[in-house]
């Protein structure tokens, strides 16, 4: 069983993010970067599938400048087997991300690709779906539970949908995107951390993969949300109802 897992480097979601003065991006000084939390769940799921099968390989792929190798190493420390770094100067838009991943998937021919359902930095949530479509593979998004058939030919995936769960069966190879409740990722063990640096990591440029990037999306401007206004204290329930009805117009 070969499992390809994608990881994206994102600002630590527990940290306060500030937009730079030009509105072209965030201030990166003293920022900490981590594996996108949904991707970490995807890594965990890949490791669990491999452990349950008792055989297989978990391959990590990340796209971005050389610093993304940190996130690949973090996934290798959790237990993944090897890494692929697609070396580009800046993070591509979802369509170009999917193009690069398609080339990697064709090269690696995995039984399954597991991705996070979205990256918490730009929140697009598109790459998984696009990748499946480009490959012509089945897709199961927002996965809550994943089970692989003994002969690796099918997967049964329970998905989180509005107000409940939906269970589907898909043919493999397929693209699965992880939702929050799929699992709770493990902490890297210290021996795992020390071993991570010895695991193989290949680096490819888009041209090595036969991909020409052609951006279809341009970031026009980034803004911080307006500062929260202070709250008010109401005296009575009637006053609250009145304000909700007539000022906020929410009921």
């Amino acid at each position: 069983m070969k499992i390809l897992v994608t990881v994206k480097r994102v600002p630590d979601p527990d940290m306060k993010v500030r937009v730079n003065a030009e509105g072209t991006g965030i201030v990166e000084d003293n920022m900490k970067f981590v594996i996108n939390p949904f991707d970490e769940i995807a890594v965990e799921e890949g490791l669990r599938i491999k452990e349950k099968k008792g055989e297989g390989e978990v391959v990590i792929v990340a796209i971005g400048p050389s610093v993304v190798q940190e996130q690949i190493r973090a996934a290798l420390a959790m237990g993944a087997d090897r890494g692929i770094h697609v070396d580009v100067d800046s993070y591509p838009d979802p369509l170009n991300t999917a193009k690069l991943l398609k080339a990697v998937a064709e090269k690696e021919a995995p039984n399954i690709v597991i991705m996070g359902k979205q990256a918490v930095d730009d929140d697009y949530g598109q790459a998984g779906q696009m990748l499946a479509a480009m490959l012509g593979w089945a897709q199961a998004t927002f996965a809550y539970k994943v089970e692989i058939a003994d002969d690796n030919s099918k997967a049964t995936v329970t998905r989180e949908v509005d107000g409940g769960l939906e269970t589907i069966e898909i043919d493999l190879p397929a693209v699965v995107t992880a939702d929050l409740r799929l699992n709770e990722p493990r902490y890297a063990s210290l021996p795992g951390i020390m071993k991570a640096k010895t695991k193989p990591m290949d680096v490819f440029k888009p041209a090595d993969l036969g991909v020409e990037l052609s951006p279809v999306l341009e970031l026009v401007r980034m803004e911080e949300p307006p500062p929260r206004k202070g709250g008010i204290i109401v005296e009575t329930v009637d006053e609250l109802l009145d304000k909700l009805r007539n000022e906020a117009k929410v009921i």
Binding site: D14, M15, K16, V17, R18, V27, D29, N30, M31, K32, V34, E70, R73, A74, A77, Y187, A188, S189, L190, P191, I193, M194, A196, K197
Partner: protein, 390 residues
């Protein structure tokens, strides 16, 4: 955004150490900080967290891989201590001897048999170690210890009392300093590995203390305690040298703990000052409070560079006596000042157990005493200054 620049941006350190640091930080934020209240209430380290520490390998950070440890080295352990110091003191306390004063003596000066027998058990956390030097009549003047070890046949017979011994009540082995030749002063002191089940070893009592008491201190009595001769570390008379080597390594760890706790206190103080409203505005709007925050930030900034530049210096040269003394004493003194400021910013709430400030303050106070008091470190620094002056 973090207030302080990351040491990894400034210093060349192996990339696995960054992973080690980041992974520890994640564990602290997600699993340990949320359990602090529970630990205070029960006075115990929760069983599941202790198991997590064992499973992840935290008891063997400094022990080489060939003896079952991680082999992350001195700087790796300094980084871990800083992160763990951001939460309850008990986590650093529980792993500290296995990674430091309880295992390094065996590693530096022990026989191959001793290393094979004890280090893997310490690395896995199956056994806990303790370091027993201090006695009721020998603290700062450690060379004046009176515990005697007399060779009888193939055994040493130990008699004496050790006190203030961290983990003494729960340790499986003690690294004990005892006098084999009273006529030779410090050169008559030897180091022994003493298992708690050896005949004549007794935990006399657990001390009640101001803080640092989830993992506490105990008084250990040796009454004709029988120690097999193969448990002597190195040669007779070399024990004090072994102890000094091990304690030197520990000093920077104490400074790293002072740094980690200071960063947590800073975060708590900043948060509280933006939330607490008096005179119609958050107290952080008062310049008096702002100056307190600025002072704390400046002290931490200096501590951080001092700790890590000295750790890296130590990677290059074994002897860093005066440097380690400088950093240990300044960092622990400043952390005490920072805890006091953080408590002041919290007002009465800082004094109450609803907030962790008073606990950090109590636990932190020990850092100015353990592994050499501030005064003793000033003595060491002064001695080196005068030696230079000729």
């Amino acid at each position: 955004m973090e207030f302080f620049p990351d040491v990894f941006e400034i210093f060349e350190m192996p990339e696995e150490l960054k992973l080690l640091r980041d992974s520890t930080r994640k564990l602290v934020n997600e699993k340990l900080i949320p359990r602090e209240r529970e630990i205070d209430e029960t006075g115990k380290i929760p069983e599941d967290l202790l198991n997590t520490f064992k499973e992840l390998g935290y008891f063997g950070i400094t022990i080489p891989q060939e003896y079952g440890g991680i082999g992350a080295g001195f700087t790796g352990y300094v980084l871990v201590q800083e992160e763990l110091a951001r939460t309850h003191e008990c986590f650093n306390a529980i792993i500290s001897a296995n990674n430091g004063i309880g295992s390094l003596g065996i590693l530096y000066d022990g026989t191959e048999e001793q290393k094979k027998k004890y280090l893997p058990r310490l690395a896995s956390g199956e056994w806990l170690a303790s370091f027993a030097l201090t006695e009721p009549n020998a603290g700062s003047d450690a060379a004046s210890i009176k515990t005697r070890a007399v060779k009888e046949g193939s055994k040493y017979i130990l008699n004496g009392t050790k006190h203030f011994i961290t983990r003494g009540d729960i340790a499986d082995i003690f690294i004990v300093m005892a006098v084999t030749d009273p006529s030779k002063g410090a050169r008559g002191i030897s180091a022994f590995i003493v298992e708690k089940n050896f005949p004549g070893v007794r935990v006399a009592r657990r001390h009640e203390s101001m803080g640092s008491d989830v993992v506490g201190q105990a008084e250990i009595v040796f009454e004709d305690a029988e120690v097999p001769e193969e448990n002597l570390i190195g040669e007779e008379g070399k024990g004090f040298k072994t102890a000094q080597k091990v304690l030197n390594d520990g000093r920077l760890g104490m400074a790293a703990r002072a740094l980690g706790t200071s960063k947590r206190l800073f975060e708590e103080a900043v948060r509280y000052s933006t939330e607490r409203v008096q005179f119609g505005q958050p107290i952080c709007q008062f310049q008096g409070i702002q100056w307190m925050l600025a002072e704390v930030a400046a002290l931490i900034y200096h501590m951080q560079w001092a700790v890590y530049s000295t750790a890296l210096l130590h990677e290059k040269r074994p002897r860093i006596n005066k440097e380690a003394s400088i950093v240990k004493f300044m960092a622990t003194e400043w952390a005490w000042r920072i805890a006091d400021i953080a408590l002041q910013i919290h007002g009465g709430m800082g004094y109450m157990k609803d907030f962790p400030i008073e606990r950090f303050l109590r636990d932190l106070r020990a850092l100015r005493i353990v592994e050499g008091t501030t005064e003793i470190h000033k003595n060491i620094i002064a001695r080196e200054i005068l030696r230079m002056a000729g």
